[in-house]
Every structure is written in C-alpha cells, then in structure tokens.
C-alpha cells in the first residue's frame, strides 16, 4: 500500500488534473442519470435564488395585474356613468315622444345650447333653432313638463328664450279647478308667485295653474305650476300665493317651440 500513497504524494497534482478531466469526460459522455443527479445538486445552490426571483416576478405580476384592474375599474366606472346618462336621456326622450301639442299648434323641437348669464335661477337660454327654422320673437317655448318661456331674440342659427324665471316675464293664468284668473311672475327672493288673486278667491294648495291665453303671448291651457302655499291676510285685498313651477328650469335640455298651424 505504501507504493500507492507514494504515487499519490508524488503525482498529486497530475492526479488531480486527471480527476478533473475524467469527471468532465464522465459528465460529457456519461449517462443521463448521473448528469441529472449532478444537475439536481448544482440546482441546490440556485434554488433559494430561484425562489426569490419567482417571488419578485410574482409580485411584479401582481402589481401589473393590480394596475390593469384599476384601469379596468376606472373604465367600467366611466362606462357606467355614460350608461346612466344614456338611461336618463332615454327616459326623457320617451316622455317627450308621448307629449302632444294642443290642437291647432305644431311643435318644433330644439336643443338648449347655452345658458345666458350666471345667475341662479337661470333666466334665459339659447336654443339651436332660429330664423332659418322660421322661429319668431314671442313664440311660446314649452317642454313635456309645461310652459318654459318665450322667444325674446332670434338670429339665423339660434334664438334666446326668456324663461318664466325672468323678472320681466308675466303670464296670465287661471286656477284649473276654479277658473279664477291671476298673473304669475317670478321674484328672485320669493320664487314663482301668483299676483292679483283676490282674497275671497277659491284657491287651495295643490291646485294646478294653467295659462289663460288672455295675455296675448302664451296660448291657453299650458301648465305653469301648482300652488305650493296660500296665505290670506285679513287686512289685504289679495292672497299671497306661492307656486311650484312645473318646469325644472335648471335642467333644461330639449324644448319645443309652439307654433300655430
């Protein structure tokens, strides 16, 4: 045995080099099982780092997924808002379709394109119909809810509508139930009121107020509003009648110009 140990000690370097060459050769030309085993062993070094890398990639994937979902959520939210708006418009247009004018009149549909001034409530709006559509000053403007106002100014491509909320606008009206007459006007500090209604007149809360057609501007039987409250002071000759307008002036979109046939 001594010759072997002598051989090893004398040729240690060469034996090491041969061992490396042999091992390499075995790995190059050896069977697959050995290579797989060695590979598994070497993967032991890489395994913890592979786990770290997988976790990082997974996290970055989750982050990207999160961003994608957030974007989808925003898009869905926008779409939902759009659908809500379409639903409201659909409902509004359906109610318009059911709306029919008084006999002897025709309707010209128009769209509100601009609000005049910045006061609340809105007192005038601009519509997309004008002289090109034969629109004239003082023509009545209504929508499916009731009387909106009158045309106060016209130009080729549009017109200005003076709403009932305008301080200069007056409407001759009747109480639908009793047919008693009065004048409706709008005061910014109080709202829509019925003027010149006698204290002994027959009027109650909830009564419907219609245009009488006697003022010369608006035709008869257009809904102006309903009676919100009635006060009858003993020492005064007229009632204090507050009305709720039939039309929502702050959300006007589609209106009709009422024209005699």
């Amino acid at each position: 045995m001594t010759w072997i140990s002598r051989l090893f000690s004398r040729h240690s370097r060469n034996l090491h080099l041969v061992a490396i060459l042999l091992l390499s050769a075995v790995l190059i030309y050896g069977n697959n099982d050995l290579n797989r085993y060695v590979n598994r062993t070497t993967l032991f070094f890489s395994w913890p780092f592979s786990q770290v890398r997988c976790s990082i990639e997974e996290l970055s994937g989750v982050n990207a997924e999160n961003q994608r979902l957030q974007q989808s959520l925003v898009e869905a939210s926008l779409r939902l808002t759009e659908l809500d708006e379409i639903r409201r418009e659909n409902r509004r247009l359906r109610s318009i379709l059911e709306f029919e004018p008084e006999p002897g009149y025709s309707l010209l549909p128009a769209r509100v394109v601009k609000v005049v001034g910045d006061k609340i409530p809105v007192s005038a709006v601009v519509i997309n119909r004008g002289q090109e559509d034969s629109v004239l000053v003082n023509q009545t403007v209504i929508n499916q809810e009731g009387l909106v106002g009158r045309i106060s100014e016209v130009w080729p491509g549009g017109a200005e509508v003076q709403l009932l909320t305008h301080m200069a606008n007056r409407v001759a009206v009747r109480v639908a139930e009793s047919q008693e007459m009065g004048v409706v006007k709008y005061i910014a500090s109080r709202g829509m009121i019925l003027e010149n209604f006698p204290i002994q007149g027959n009027i109650r809360q909830g009564d419907l107020i219609l245009s009488s057609g006697l003022g010369g501007v608006y035709p008869a039987r257009l809904v102006v509003g309903t009676v919100a409250s009635v006060e009858k002071p003993e020492e005064e000759a007229f009632c204090k009648v507050l009305l709720t307008p039939a039309v929502s002036f702050s959300s006007l979109q589609e209106v009709f110009i009422l024209r005699p046939d």
Binding site: S12, R13, H16, L17, I20, L21, L23, S24, A25, V26, L27, I28, Y29, G30, N32, N35, R36, V38, N39, T42, L43, F45, S46, F49, S50, V52, R53, I56
Partner: protein, 161 residues
Amino acid sequence: MKLIPYLVYLLLIAMHEVIWRDVTAIHGVTINLAAFLVLAVALYKSELTVVWFGFFAGLILAAGMPDRLGWHALALSAVAFTAFHVRERINLKSPFAKFLLMLGGLFLHNVLVVLINQSGGFLYLVWHSALTGAVYTSILTLLFFAFKDGYVTVRKIRDIF
C-alpha cells in the same frame, strides 16, 4: 484549504446567474461573474485550488442544463488552469498586466461558452457577446483591483469631494 469562502463564491455565482445577470445586462451584454471569480482566485491561490474551484463554478454555471454540465466545468477549469500558468509568468504588481490577464481570461471563457451553447452564428456571437461581455466585466475588474490594491480608497474619494 478553507472551503467556506469558496462555497460563498459558488453561492454568489448562483445568485448572479439567477437574479443579477439579467438585471445588470446592457443590450444583452452580461457580466461573467463566474469567470471573474475564478480568474481572481487564480491570481492568488494554488493551482489545484484554482482548477477545482473552476470545475465547480462551471457546474454551478451550467445548473439547469444537464447535457452541458461537463463542458462548462471543463471550460472553466481550463480557463482557471491557463490563468494560473499565465499568472506565474507575469508581473502581478502591474495593474495593466492583471487587467490584460482578466480580459484575456474572460474573453477565452466567453468564447468557450459561445462554442458550448452554439445557439447562433459563431463569429457574430464572439463579437456581440463574448468580446463585449469580456470588456464589460473587465471594466468591473479594474474597479475591483483599484480598490483591492489601494489605488482607490474611500479616503481618496472623500478627499475629492
């Protein structure tokens, strides 16, 4: 021979191959940390230590490629062996000589890796990956030896500012 530092080197190589290799790549040119560590060991350690370390570093480098394990181990062992014998014949006190040794060793290993992998036009890969990768890693070795040999120290850097 203390084994723990070499195990740490092997772990470093594994970590680099799995995590940092792609992160530090510039236009597909990667740092060859395995060859760098083997060459650095070749500058200071004995022949057998260097060759065995090269062999195992080659195995780690080829992890996941069982059919190329032997080739990578042999290639890195050969580079280590060559580097050791070149080191014996050069003036190690010259940083330029060390740099040339590193550059040559890295280029040789990169060429061998290209040959082993044989994934495309050999000359193109030698130019595109082997040489550029060797230069990229050599620049880092310059920094490494500049710090190690004291040409650049923290104090000198501080003095600049």
